[in-house]
C-alpha cells in the first residue's frame, strides 16, 4: 500500500491506483467525463485536474498514479478555478436543452454546474448547429449539440464489443461523433452506450420522454433472462401512474460487479422488463372464476393440500406430476425437491426451461434461464416430460410457468392437459388459454420477491423485491411452503419453516451453497 496525503489528511491506496480512484475510495468525488473505470485513462475532458504539492501545473487525477508521500489537493482555489473554467468551455457550446433532455436530473454537466457554482455565461457568439436526432442504431439517438466528446461511446465500441461502429470525425470545434454510413450499432449491448454517455447526447428511445429521472426509485436485482445473472438496477416510479394503466418500471441499468458482468448488461436483460407491467397474472383463477377476498389463497391451498393428501392416502402419488423450471430460485427448487421428491416420493418431476438461444460471446449465455446451476445443486436436472405417454397418466399436475409451450405444440399440451384431472398453473404472466387449467395461481417474478440464483459460473447471488408483488401474486416458495403445511407431510420439518430465511438455512444445511450476497 502506498501512503499519501489527500486534502491534508493521510490516506492509503494500493500501488498503481490513480488519484481519481484513490480519492473515490476515500469518498472524495473528483468531477470527470472521459474517465470510466472500464477503460484506461483518456485525459481529454480536463475536468479532473488537481493540485499536487511541488508541481507548478495542475495534473490529471485520472492518470496520475499515487506515490509515496504525494500530497494532493482536490478543492483549492486553483483547482476550483480550473473546474469552473473547463465547465464554462463545455457550456459555451452546449444547448440549453435541459427542459427537453432525458438526462436532466442525472446529468454530469448539470451536477457539476450546480456543485461548482458557475456564474452567468458571457458567451455572446453563435453556438454550432449540429444534428440533434441522429440515429446510430437500435434504440439509440445521438444529439451532437449535447455531446461533450468524452469518447466513452467510441471506446466502448473499440474496447468492449470490438465492433467499432462509432468514430470521431472532423477536428477542432467541428469535431463530431458518428457511425459509418450503413454500419449502425447492432450488437446486443447498445443500451450500454446510452448508459455510458455522461450527458444527454446518446439517449435510448425506450426511455425517451417517458418520465423524469427524479421520479424514479432504484433498487438492486438480478437479471432473470439467462445464466449469467447480471447485476441490475431496476428503476421504477411508485405512486400513481401519470397515465392510467401505463407502466411503472421504466428502465433497467447495469449494476457493477467485478466477477459477474463488470460494468455492462446486454440488451436482452436491459429491455426485458415489459413482462413486469404487462400481461400479468395477478388474480387467482379457479375454474375460470376469479377468487377474490383475503381468504382466497387459503381456500385454494386447502383444496390442493387435501387433493394431494387424498392421493397419498390412496398410494396414488405416482399420478402426480410437476413441471418446474430452473427459472425458480434456489429456495423454491429446494422446496420442489423436498416436498415433491423426498417427502411425497413423486418421481415425475420435470424441468421445462425456455428455449435455448445463441450465446453472444460475452455475457448472454445459451441457456435462457437464471438458475440451471442452482437446480443442479439441489439435484434437479433439466428434463422435458414425454407428453404423449404422460397424457392420461396423471390426476394432478403442477406446472410452474409456461415454458412447455416452447417445446411442444399447443395442441399436444392441450391434449395432455385435457386428459389430466386437475391442472394447476403457477405463473406470473397471464396465459393465452387459462381455461385449459383448473387453477391459475399468480406468482411473483424475481423482481417482486426474495431469493437467490446460482449463475453459470457457480456464483450464488441473492435478490430482494424491488416492489411489492402485483395483485394477489405470491412467491412460489411461499405457495409451496403453504402447500406443504396443508398436505401435512413431514410436519415437524415444515412447521419449523416460517419464512424465506428459514428455508435458506434448511437449504444450506442440506446443499451448502456459498454465502449469499444480496
Amino acid at each position: 500500500m502506498v501512503k499519501f496525503f489527500l486534502d491534508g489528511k493521510p490516506a492509503e491506496a494500493a500501488e498503481g491506483t490513480t488519484l481519481l480512484q484513490a480519492a473515490a475510495q476515500a469518498g472524495v468525488r473528483i468531477p470527470h467525463f472521459c474517465h470510466h473505470p472500464a477503460f484506461p485513462p483518456e485525459g481529454s475532458c480536463r475536468l479532473c485536474l488537481v493540485e499536487i504539492e511541488g508541481l507548478p501545473k495542475l495534473e490529471l487525477s485520472c492518470s496520475t498514479v499515487v506515490r509515496e508521500g504525494l500530497k494532493v489537493w482536490t478543492e483549492t482555489d486553483k483547482v476550483l478555478e480550473a473546474r469552473r473554467s473547463v465547465l464554462e468551455f463545455f457550456l459555451s457550446d452546449h444547448p440549453l436543452d435541459c427542459p427537453i433532455c432525458d438526462k436532466a436530473g442525472e446529468c454530469g454537466l448539470q451536477d457539476y454546474f450546480r456543485e461548482y457554482g458557475l456564474s452567468q455565461s458571457v458567451f455572446d457568439e453563435s453556438k454550432e448547429k449540429r444534428g440533434k436526432k441522429v440515429p446510430i442504431g437500435k434504440n439509440l439517438l445521438l444529439d451532437r449539440e449535447r455531446c461533450v466528446l468524452c469518447t466513452r461511446c467510441v471506446r466502448f465500441g473499440r474496447q468492449v464489443t470490438r465492433t467499432e461502429e462509432l468514430g470521431v470525425f472532423q477536428r477542432g470545434l467541428k469535431t463530431e461523433i458518428g457511425i459509418y454510413d450503413d454500419t449502425p450499432v447492432s450488437h446486443n449491448y447498445s443500451g450500454c452506450l446510452a448508459e455510458v454517455c455522461p450527458v444527454g447526447a446518446i439517449t435510448d428511445t425506450d426511455f425517451r420522454f417517458k418520465t423524469r429521472a427524479w421520479f424514479l426509485e432504484k433498487a438492486a436485482s438480478i437479471c432473470p433472462w439467462c445464466g449469467r445473472g447480471c447485476n441490475i438496477t431496476i428503476e421504477h416510479a411508485p405512486g400513481f401512474p401519470r397515465v392510467p394503466g401505463s407502466r411503472r418500471i421504466y428502465r433497467i441499468k447495469a449494476r457493477y460487479h467485478p466477477d459477474v458482468n463488470g460494468h455492462w448488461i446486454c440488451d436482452v436483460g436491459r429491455y426485458g422488463y415489459f413482462h413486469l407491467d404487462a400481461d400479468r397474472q395477478d388474480v387467482i383463477l379457479a375454474k375460470g372464476k376469479i377468487l377474490e377476498g383475503p381468504s382466497s389463497w387459503e381456500a385454494v391451498i386447502r383444496f390442493l393440500g387435501a387433493r394431494i393428501a387424498g392421493l397419498r392416502a390412496d398410494k396414488a402419488l405416482s399420478r402426480v406430476g410437476v413441471v418446474a423450471s430452473s427459472q425458480l430460485s434456489n429456495e423454491e427448487l429446494f422446496l420442489v425437491r423436498r416436498l415433491f421428491l423426498e417427502d411425497l416420493d413423486i418421481r415425475k418431476i420435470f424441468l421445462a426451461d425456455p428455449q435455448e438461444g445463441t450465446p453472444d460471446g460475452f455475457l448472454l449465455t445459451a441457456e435462457r434461464t437464471p438458475n440451471r446451476k442452482g437446480a443442479a445443486e439441489v439435484g434437479l436436472k433439466f428434463g422435458l416430460p414425454d407428453l404423449k405417454s404422460l397424457a392420461g397418466e396423471l390426476d394432478l399436475v403442477f406446472m410452474f410457468g409456461l415454458n412447455l409451450f416452447d417445446h411442444f405444440r399447443g395442441e399436444d399440451i392441450r391434449i395432455f392437459l385435457s386428459k389430466t384431472a386437475t391442472k394447476v398453473l403457477l405463473t406470473s404472466q397471464a396465459p393465452a388459454a387459462s381455461e385449459a387449467f383448473d387453477f391459475v395461481l399468480p406468482t411473483a417474478p424475481a423482481a417482486e420477491k426474495s431469493g437467490s440464483f446460482v449463475n453459470i459460473e457457480g456464483k450464488v447471488q441473492g435478490f430482494a423485491p424491488v416492489r411489492p408483488a402485483c395483485g394477489q401474486a405470491l412467491a412460489e416458495w411461499d405457495i409451496l411452503l403453504r402447500l406443504a403445511k396443508a398436505v401435512g407431510v413431514n410436519a415437524a420439518f415444515y412447521s419449523g419453516l416460517n419464512g424465506l430465511d428459514d428455508i435458506r438455512q434448511a437449504l444450506d444445511r442440506e446443499f451448502p451453497l456459498q454465502t449469499l450476497k444480496a
Binding site: V168, F169, Y180
Partner: protein, 161 residues
C-alpha cells in the same frame, strides 16, 4: 458499393502497405495515392481502402475528415490553394485571393462551373521567404503578384486545352 481501383493503383497501394509493420500505418500515403488517381477521395473509395488495409471503413473516414489535404468531393482540375497565414497576409496574399475570387467568380470552397478551377484558403505552406504563395494541386508557386497570377491562370487554361 466499392470504387473501382485500377490494377496500377492496387499495385502501388500494396507496395506502400508493405513498408510498414502494420498495414494501417499506410493509410495516409494510400489515401494520397487514391486522391491523385481520382482527384478526390470518393466515399466508396474509403471502403475499398479499408478492405485493402484491414481496417474498418470508419477509421478511413476518421482520417479523410481530419486531414485538410484530403478532399471528399470532386475538385476542379486545378485546385488553387492560397495561403492566408501571417507572412503571406503581410505581403498581400488576401488581396490576391480577392483577385482570384473576383476573376474566377469563386468563393473559397467552390469550383468553377467548367470544372477547371477550385479555390481554397490554406494555412502556412512553409515557404515564407517567397510570400505570398499559393499551391496549384501539389506545386508551390511563390513570389506572387497580380501579373504572375494572371500568367499562371492563362498557363493553366492553355495547358488544359
Amino acid at each position: 458499393m466499392k470504387a473501382e481501383f485500377s490494377p496500377g493503383l492496387l499495385a502501388a497501394i500494396r507496395e506502400v502497405a508493405g513498408r510498414y509493420p502494420k498495414p494501417q500505418a499506410a493509410l495516409l500515403p494510400v489515401l494520397h495515392l487514391v486522391q491523385k488517381e481520382f482527384g478526390h477521395i470518393p466515399p466508396e473509395g474509403e471502403r475499398t481502402v479499408a478492405g485493402l488495409l484491414g481496417v474498418n471503413p470508419i477509421r478511413v473516414r476518421e482520417a479523410t475528415t481530419f486531414y485538410s489535404m484530403f478532399r471528399r468531393r470532386p475538385m476542379g482540375r486545378y485546385h488553387l490553394q492560397v495561403c492566408v497565414n501571417l507572412t503571406c497576409t503581410l505581403l498581400e496574399s488576401r488581396t490576391l485571393l480577392g483577385y482570384l475570387q473576383d476573376g474566377l467568380g469563386l468563393r473559397p470552397g467552390d469550383t468553377t462551373p467548367d470544372g477547371l478551377f477550385s479555390l481554397s484558403t490554406v494555412e502556412c505552406l512553409g515557404a515564407c521567404e517567397q510570400a505570398p504563395c499559393l499551391m496549384v494541386n501539389e506545386e508551390l508557386i511563390g513570389n506572387l503578384d497580380r501579373e504572375k497570377l494572371e500568367a499562371l491562370l492563362s498557363r493553366l487554361r492553355t495547358d488544359h486545352d
